[in-house]
Structure formats: C-alpha cells, structure tokens
C-alpha cells in the first residue's frame, strides 16, 4: 500500500497541479481553455471530462504499451482516446444535455487536446498503469483547476453571475451605473486572464523563471 503512494507517485500526481501545470507551464490545451470558460458550469464539466479521459486513456495505453508496435502507436492512442471521448460525449448528452449543448464541438475536440497526446506519448508509453493513472488524474485536474479560475473571473465580470446566479441583478447594481464587461465573454480576455495566472505563478515560483 505504501508503495502505491510513495513519494515519487505523489509527485507524479501533484506536480501537474502546480509547478508543471499543463496550461500555465507547458502552455498546452489553450484552445479549449479559451473556448469553454465563459461560464463556470461548462468549464467544470469540461475539466472533469478531460480528467476522466486523460486518466483512463493513460491506464489503457499503459497496459498496452508493450504490445503496441512503435510505428503505429499514434493511431492506437487516437483510437483509445476517441473511444473514451465518444463514451463521455454520450453520457453528457444523456444526463447533462444543456451543458453538452453549450460545450458543442469542444467535447469531441478533446481528441485533439494536446495534453492528452502529450501524456500518452511522454508518460503512459514508459510507465506502469498505476503511475499512469495518477499522472493522467493529476494533469486532468491541473487543467480543470485553471479552467475553473479563468471561468470564475470571466463569469463574475462578464455575465455578472456565479453558477448562473445573477448577483448583479439581485443586488440591483445596474441602478448604480454598473455594467457587465462584454469583453470578458469574448475569448481574448480568457487569454489575458490566463496570462495573469501565469504571471502570478511565475512571480511566486523562482524555479519557473528563466534567467
């Protein structure tokens, strides 16, 4: 048991959440981070979907890693990811239809998410299933965390609400001349918010700063 949660495994899980975050440090998966973060609800669903898919595709590829011929490994990885994405997409359509409509093509586009392919190539092809599972979980949650932060600011400033609860209308802020910031709903501001998170993280972590 202690083997399962050794120091190395803890790092495998925890590093992607902080100093090796897929979005803010490796700058992967930016496209979907800009596209689905206008509101909190779709951002969280997207984050969780990616987490589930990364974790399980990592496990499956890790189990198959010794039998996959090297020359067609990308195709095999894609087939596994595509199957998982299809399952998640169908589940969303069945149980959370509204959110799946909001996410539209972006659930399907998880297949092309750079984080997934990156983890499969860089980690799952060389490591045992349990480590791969932790790595996938960590990277997915690291992605979900950043999505949550971006969506939090974008929804508050852009739509004036939190989880679709419109506090601007509830507090009658518009009577005082308050206006929601329309730019926050547009993707450029997601990039600026993401940039601010990177700025904050880099100024806190000395080891991330280039000389």
């Amino acid at each position: 048991m202690s083997q399962l949660f050794s120091k190395k495994n803890k790092e495998v899980f925890a590093n992607p959440l902080s100093i090796n975050n897929p979005i803010t440090v490796q700058v992967l998966g930016i496209c979907s981070a800009l596209a689905v973060t206008a509101k909190l609800e779709p951002a969280i669903v997207m984050g969780l979907s990616v987490t589930v898919i990364t974790a399980f595709s990592n496990v499956i590829i890790s189990l198959l890693r010794k039998t996959i011929p090297n020359r067609i490994r990308i195709i095999v990885q894609l087939v596994v990811v595509a199957a998982l994405v299809t399952i998640v997409s169908e589940i969303l359509k069945a149980f959370a239809y509204d959110v799946s409509v909001q996410l539209s093509v972006y659930v399907g586009l998880i297949i092309t998410n750079c984080i997934l392919m990156g983890r499969l190539e860089a980690f799952a092809m060389q490591n045992a299933p349990w480590e791969s599972f932790l790595d996938g979980l960590g990277n997915g949650l690291g992605y979900a965390k950043i999505l949550f932060i971006i969506a939090f600011f974008r929804e508050i400033l852009g739509s004036g609400s939190i989880f679709n609860y419109n506090f601007v209308d509830a507090l009658h802020l518009k009577d005082f001349g308050y206006l929601n910031n329309g730019l926050m709903i547009l993707p450029p501001m997601a990039l600026v918010v993401c940039g601010c998170i990177i700025w904050y993280q880099r100024s806190r972590n000395k080891e991330l700063q280039e000389k």
């Binding site: 001349g177 206006l179 730019l183 926050m184």
Partner: protein
C-alpha cells in the same frame, strides 16, 4: 523659474537614499525632469545630446493636441445646445463642454499616472513620460457621455496590459490610447457606439438642460444604417469645421490640421506616414465609389467626405504617427500609412457592425509594423549584396 529650481534643489536630499521621503523618490524625479531638462550626463562612450529629449517631445505633442481639445469642448456644448435648445451663448457652450470634459481628463491622468508611479517605484526605475500624451488622447477619443468609472477601468487595463507588461514606454506594441478605446468599445458597447452616446443630455453645475433619451446619430452612423446607396448625409462644411456629433476631440478637421502643422514643423510626426494614410484612404474610397456596391451608402460616399468624417483625421495625425508603434524605416512608413488608410475605409464599407474603422485599422497595422520594417531592411540588404557582386 529660478526660485522653483532652488526649491527643488533644497528638497532633493529628502528623496535620496536614506532620506525620509525616499518612498516618493520616483514622484519627485518625475516632477523634476518634467519641469527641467535633466542635469546628468552619460559616463561612458561618446554621446550626442540634443535639447529635444522624449519629455520635451511629449510636451509638444500635448500642445499640438490643445486646439482639437479646445474645439472639442466647444463642440460638446454646441451639440448639447443644438439638441436640447438650452439657449447657451458661446462662452456658455464652451464652459459646458469644459465641465463635461475636464473630469475625463482628470480621471485618465490620475489612473494612468498613478499606475506609472507605482510601477516605477516598484521596479526602482524613473517614471516614464509616455503617459503624458496617452492621458490627454484618451479623453479625446471617447464619446462625451462615457461614464468615468469605465474610463478608469479601461485606462488601467491599457496601461498595465498594453504598456507595462511589455516593459513600459517605448516598448509597447500597440498604441496605449487606442487599446483603451478598443477595450471600451468591446467591453461596454452600449456606452461607446450607437446613437445615444454622442451628445450629452445632462446638466453640469446647473449649466445646460437635462433631457432623457436623447439620441443623435453621427454622419457615419447614418451612412451605416442607410438602406439605399444615396443614404449618406451630403457633404457640408460643418464636417470640416467639426460641428458634428462624434468623439470629443476627433470632429474638427481644422483644429486637427493646426495640430498636424505643429507636429510637422517640429519634426515630431512623420509626414510620410501622415500623407500616406490620407492617400490610402482616398484611393480605397475612390475604388469603392467605382465599384458601387448596391445599397451600401458607405461605398457611395465621396472620398473627401470619408476623410473628413469620424476619427480618420485624428487617427492619421496623432495615432498612426506614434513613433513607437508605427513603422520606423522610410519605405516602411509609406506602406504602413497606406495600409492604415485603406483598411480604415475597408472596415467602414464592408463591415456591417462598425461605422468607424480607423481604430481597428491602426491597431491591426501596429501588429504588422515590425514585419514591414523587417522586410524593408532585408530588401535593402539583398539590394546592396547584389551591388557588391556586380562591382566585384
């Protein structure tokens, strides 16, 4: 002046290392160099000094902006008087405009300079002077009814994200004043475009007349919403004088021309950029006239009217010529200016959403300015390399 200099010399020790007001060092430094030419000289190498340093340059740009600003103030009152029949006389109109515009200038300077001071203090640098010009440009390119708090938000955004993150004055890719405007334009479109924002319907300290739901379309707004190709407002001299609704400082061609003369006479702005913006706009407008798009009043508008309306002149004279964000090579300036003018007209004519394209055209070309310079330099290098080969 002598007394002031003596006073500065007297209080200076307080701000130096170990002095009790050391925390305000950058504020003192900024004020001192604003008023007097710095006294320190380079310690190494050979340097040629001119009396014209960047702070003096900025001051002249501010002076060049004054005619347009004063006229803008008058026009704010004039438009208010026209729309509400408040019965103001000449000075009444001017003071009405003065009272309407002054808070915007104050907000823009306080927010922008405040951020500059904080950053300078934090990074232990001297205060950059770039905001002197941006601070006066910002209130001149917004509609009169733009609320002060959104102006403050936009100014803060522009100074931080368009300037300080790139490394401060002289390092920015985009024109800071235009980033302020583009932020306002996309973030708060109801306060920046449409028919209800261009003429003030409020009273200022009892001056003027309150009128709710006042709407006045700008000539470009009329042309945009027109359904037939002759739906634009015919050209008249008011468009040149500037007695039309629009952003505060942009309406008067004459006042802007005075500013342009000051800038050209003192050699601060490049005539190459300025001229080619106008040529680019005129050529594009004539081209659209010839094409004659069905039902598009913007395309049928004569070229001189295109150049007189909206922010075209203001952008060409004060924004496109910004030495930091425009092209720096001689040939590059012609290309940069021509494309700014051409894109401004293209956006006006072909984009059904925006009546004015000058702001977006300049920002677009700001991105390409380094690329234009790169290719101009490269082509020079290839040309000379060929010449060497021929001579050998």
């Amino acid at each position: 002046m002598k007394a002031l200099k003596n006073y500065f010399n007297k209080v200076k020790p307080n701000f130096e290392e170990g002095g009790k007001l050391h925390a305000f060092r950058s504020v003192f430094d900024g004020m001192e160099t604003f008023l007097f030419v710095p006294n320190d000289t380079a310690k190494t190498g050979t340097n040629i000094h001119d009396a014209m340093d960047s702070k003096r340059m900025m001051s002249i740009v501010v002076i060049a902006l004054v005619p347009a600003l004063l006229f803008g103030m008058y026009n704010v009152g004039y438009q208010h008087n026209l729309a509400t029949t408040a019965g103001l006389d000449f000075w009444g109109m001017f003071f009405y405009g003065f009272l309407a515009v002054l808070p915007k200038i104050v907000v823009s300077y306080v927010v922008g300079l405040g951020i500059e001071f904080v950053v300078a203090q934090w990074k232990n640098e001297e205060i950059h002077e770039g905001f002197l010009v941006s601070g006066i440009l910002i209130p001149m390119i917004v509609p009169v009814s733009c609320p002060l708090w959104i102006l403050a938000v936009a100014t803060a955004f522009a100074v931080i994200f368009a300037k300080e993150v790139f490394g401060g004055t002289g390092m920015n890719i985009f024109n800071v004043a235009l980033i302020t405007r583009v932020f306002l334009f996309f973030a708060y479109p109801s306060k920046m475009s449409g028919d209800a924002v261009w003429v003030s319907g409020d009273t200022f300290f009892g001056l003027g007349k309150h009128l709710d739901g006042l709407t006045t379309a700008t000539p470009l707004g009329i042309a945009l919403s027109a359904t037939s190709s002759t739906g634009y407002k015919p050209f008249n001299m008011d468009m040149v004088y500037g007695l039309i609704p629009g952003s505060i400082g942009e309406t008067s061609v004459i006042a802007i021309a005075i500013g342009a003369l000051i800038l050209l006479f003192t050699n601060i702005a490049s005539w190459k950029t300025m001229l080619s913006v106008f040529i680019g706009g005129a050529v594009m407008a004539i081209g659209f006239n010839q094409m004659g798009l069905e039902g598009n009043a913007m395309a049928a508008m004569p070229w001189y009217e295109h150049l007189a309306l909206g922010g075209f002149c203001f952008g060409a004279v004060f924004m496109a010529t910004d030495p930091v964000t425009s092209a720096r090579t001689s040939t590059g300036k012609y290309i940069f200016g021509f494309l700014v003018g051409a894109f401004a007209i293209i956006i006006r004519v072909l984009n059904p959403g925006y009546p004015e394209g000058m702001m977006l055209a300049i920002l677009l070309m700001n991105i390409f300015a380094p690329l234009i310079d790169y290719y101009v330099v490269q082509s020079n290098i290839t040309k000379r390399a060929k010449r060497i080969k021929v001579n050998q």
